[in-house]
Symmetry: D2
Subunit: 342 residues, 4 copies
């Protein structure tokens, strides 16, 4: 059994990690911390866990956390970087679900996140936890930077085209739509049901923190600067990301075959038959990414449709997938639940 801890488990990423880890056959969840809720039982805050989780939240304590084999950070950005060095020194392996270790460049990180990085020397070591791209490095990683939700959906959609250099990397567009849980469990007016329901809007068009993360991933593959227009939208639903991706094809190709072959061995990427459309509900509460490939009217603009559950493949599920790889377990272990539809 892997002894696991969670730092900061009171948000949506946290409760989803709890749902997955409490049911994982090889995990012993030993500790979950929260300064604000210390002393309160987990199932009091999240009654869906009644009968499945006996833990109570505790104050974060490095001495306790270092007894774990792996620690997940489900904290706001900027927290993990203050604790990770001590944990790594103690031999604990870390999966950070926040953004602290996603960007390789400390200056770029500071630009987008607004604070100085506490341990820039670890940015190079941290492995970007997209198994479909970095599986082998993840197996040996001490520190995994779990990808953001949008970056996961967008990268999996663009990867085959970018890897084969079939499209102009200077003219990529990602029009993405997210459920409101992506904004987190913090109290905010904009995420109220009375504000966000029966409403559709784009936000952060001038620049979103996931833009440099996606760009870095694509550039690591193609090796030259990528021109990406990234427009996120808030959609009136709880879970799900639908990424609609546009690129200009530079030469003819059998795109359906390309995608099917690229992902044929991937346990959590499912390429739908030609002519299909994807729906976020078909991945709800599951770790799948589903893709559909289109080339409307045979023109040179490719349209890729990519859906994930932002809390699973876009956060907690991918974190567990990474943990499975890090500890030599079967990659799908604890992640086999079928999507909940309707």
């Amino acid at each position: 059994m892997i002894k696991a801890g969670i730092v900061g488990g009171t948000g949506y990423t946290g409760v989803e990690l709890l749902r997955l880890l409490c049911a994982h056959p090889e995990v012993d969840l030993a500790v979950i911390t929260s300064r604000a809720e210390a002393g309160r039982t987990v199932s009091d805050l999240f009654p869906n866990l009644r009968g499945a989780c006996d833990l109570a939240f505790s104050e974060p304590d490095v001495n306790v956390l270092t007894t774990c084999d792996v620690v997940f950070f489900a904290t706001p950005n900027g927290t993990a970087m203050t604790l990770v060095p001590a944990l790594l020194d103690a031999g604990v392996r870390v999966v950070d679900l926040a953004a602290d270790f996603r960007l390789k460049d400390a200056a770029e990180w500071q630009h987008w996140y607004g604070i100085e990085h506490a341990c820039p020397e670890l940015l190079g070591e941290a492995v970007y936890g997209l198994p479909e791209l970095n599986r082998e490095m993840i197996r040996d990683a001490r520190l995994v930077a779990n990808p953001g939700c949008y970056p996961t959906a967008v990268a999996l959609g663009f990867l085959p085209l970018i890897e084969k250099q079939l499209v102009d990397p200077g003219q990529l567009i990602a029009d993405t739509k997210s459920g409101v849980s992506g904004a987190g469990r913090g109290a905010s007016v904009g995420s109220l049901l009375a504000e966000a329901s029966e409403n559709m809007k784009a936000y952060a068009v001038s620049g979103h923190r996931h833009l440099p993360e996606i760009r870095q991933t694509l550039e690591s593959v193609v090796g030259i600067p990528v021109g990406l227009t990234f427009v996120p939208h808030l959609t009136p639903m709880i879970r799900g990301i639908h990424a609609t991706l546009y690129a200009r094809l530079s030469e003819p190709a059998d795109l359906q075959q390309l995608y099917e072959e690229r992902y044929i061995d991937e346990p959590f990427v499912d390429v739908l038959p030609a002519g299909s459309h994807v729906e976020t509900r078909t991945v709800r509460a599951s770790n799948y990414c589903r893709l559909a490939i289109h080339q409307p009217q045979g023109r040179d603009t490719v349209v890729i449709l990519s859906v994930i559950d932002n809390l699973v493949k876009g956060a907690a599920g991918q974190a567990v997938q990474n943990m499975n790889l890090m500890f030599g377990l079967e990659e799908e272990l604890g992640l086999g639940a079928i999507a909940v539809l309707p």
Copy 2:
């Protein structure tokens, strides 16, 4: 392994049965029938099952169905009763998720369902599949009538009070709220998102088919006629039933203790601590019924709050629970998934 078949698996009860049975460790799902979709793969109709279910729908064929150990009917009312006698004769055990075998009185059944019953001689034998009331009879049953969604939530809420004769059985009120999936997957104007979203309404106030079913259950316990006012409402959500139950207490009692003791050994009934409120989302996609007990201002009107997922404990999950009992398996087998929240 139990060889199982499903008759009529294209509705919401069907897809939920598929989700549960495909993941059940002791079930081999061998056949699923649908006249309308015969020949189509299940995962084409329900893409959430891609990778989890290789079956295609087939025409219903008694010769094939009789090779099963158990057959589930997820058909419209009035279908199961035409096939069940032949299956029972062949030694197949049956769980009917429709209403064909729920009422003991053939005339009453005909009154509420508008057609003559095809095999009234089986109504006496059929066991009403509420494990919390009829567990022992279910174990030995050839034919289980799986309870309706409202009746499950209402009966579990009223049972302790009725069993102890603590309330006036002539003045019961059940104000129930259901998600729209309860209306089924058939095309209908009233269930369109543009009609049912951002809307709340009561319906069938003059008389709903679940009224006689609830009354029969409560009367089987108390032994005298029950006066029940049952008002169902349509709520703008997909899944979930919230039953708010009112009764007049005839003598003082510690209701919290009563409920906790009544359900202490029940794997799927969870009585919340005093002062709590239940939420449908805490049972979403799970087989739990959660209850909260109130006596506002210490007056003699008791208020019981009861929630279930109408597609799980109110349909497919309870059907699997019944199957587990019928075949001597652990009652929770295949039903351990934690509710999906948020």
Copy 3:
């Protein structure tokens, strides 16, 4: 033209008042205050008002407010009572949409609202602004206490029965369902879309502030103590209240005729034909209350269905209706908009 002011216009009651008053043919909206948003244009906060409202929020200033003919308070509970005396002294008439002047008993007010009342001497003078009950007093009132949303829907539903003493006043039940806008525009976790969507729950079953308000209204009619069980529920929609009311009939009566006659001259109460069900969407963004009368199975339990838009007839619309009465205008003026469906 009536010169009007709004104190505290940044919540949902405020924006709805703005929508109605900006379009009212006899109102000149002169001032709207907000400490938090002082200096910001109204249409910047609420872009639906772009082109319809040129005002900016200003700091509350008694000297400015006293230049108005009428001032509406759309403030949190406890604010109006600190400003109202000065306004009344200056000859300004006041409609308070908060709860400060709804209860006649200062001790009861303090019990439910947790603070001492700042001007208990005005509680007797304040007129409870339910036109269907107190129309003539409203015409002459200096100070109108605009009813709460639940109390409006519940009182209009029970009134005919109570006035004719046809039911047992000791056994009333109001099972009420509200959209989330009723919780206000303040940031709170419980009202997030990701918490409140796809969910149904009761709350405050042990005692809600609207309970004494409803009780006071009904007792003012029947003259004896009323026993009311009041259970509010949160429904996953933005607007609308559906009240389902239960009472025990003490003698036979033609209830349909009773309700139709009681409300025949009321411009904003609509009794549906016998056998109908009401839907909240049929009153969305309108000032109507729609009612349906049922006596299921001919038993002695009466079921009244009552719907309003909580922000219109339950708040801003009723406030404008009261203003129209206070200033001798046609009661429907500015309130004629047809409900928005779908």
Copy 4:
């Protein structure tokens, strides 16, 4: 007073036309037809109109319709073209809210709509009813083809760029998101709340009927073939379209100024300040189109955000706007309602 008729008023476009025309100060709504609902009162089908509309549906009868000054068709595609010639011959003016007269080319129409056009000789005369483009022609038109919902949002967003030839017309992308009411009031599984809620999906990526309509409008301005990738999405809400438009700028320009100047005199197009984002709820139940202009990171990809209410500016509201123009009324008459928020 203008005597008006509606053919086919039982869908969402119909009920919205009824809401607007019943409240229009210069319209006498004389007749509304429906074969399916003939004899039924309008307010029985649409209870939001109780007290506002006394009409009953009648069988369509040319002799009755020809007594009208104007007839609106809110029928399925292919119906208006069978009746329009007779009405025009009788001197009745027509606004068709369906697609029968939107395309100039009969062969193209037949290609996309699958039936032969019944009166191709009228396609040239019909005026495409986008007032912001064709205002003067609409004034004199006998027959107005009311634009589709997507085409309205997309055309208003692209027009300034196309008119000034600032972008490459061969590389336009319109990523559009619509509420479910756009699919109409017909019973269909895909539009059920339990299917469409908590879900996001693209559809008709290979080719949607609004594609040739948008292309025709843009080509009529630019004079050369337009390359447009058009991807519609279904969003879990009732009303609203959010169009996110992408184009490649061919030369530097002050786009904010361009849009503000282009639409400065338009009563129903509102260009938000630089840096803003639009929200569909700010135009709910109103006739506005709101636009925001972005050029992320100063790159050459322009992003235009455009929102309308698909049932108002995208259908019934624009039809009334066209009628106002055709009959020499003030263009805003009957369309002044402020958007309903929240």
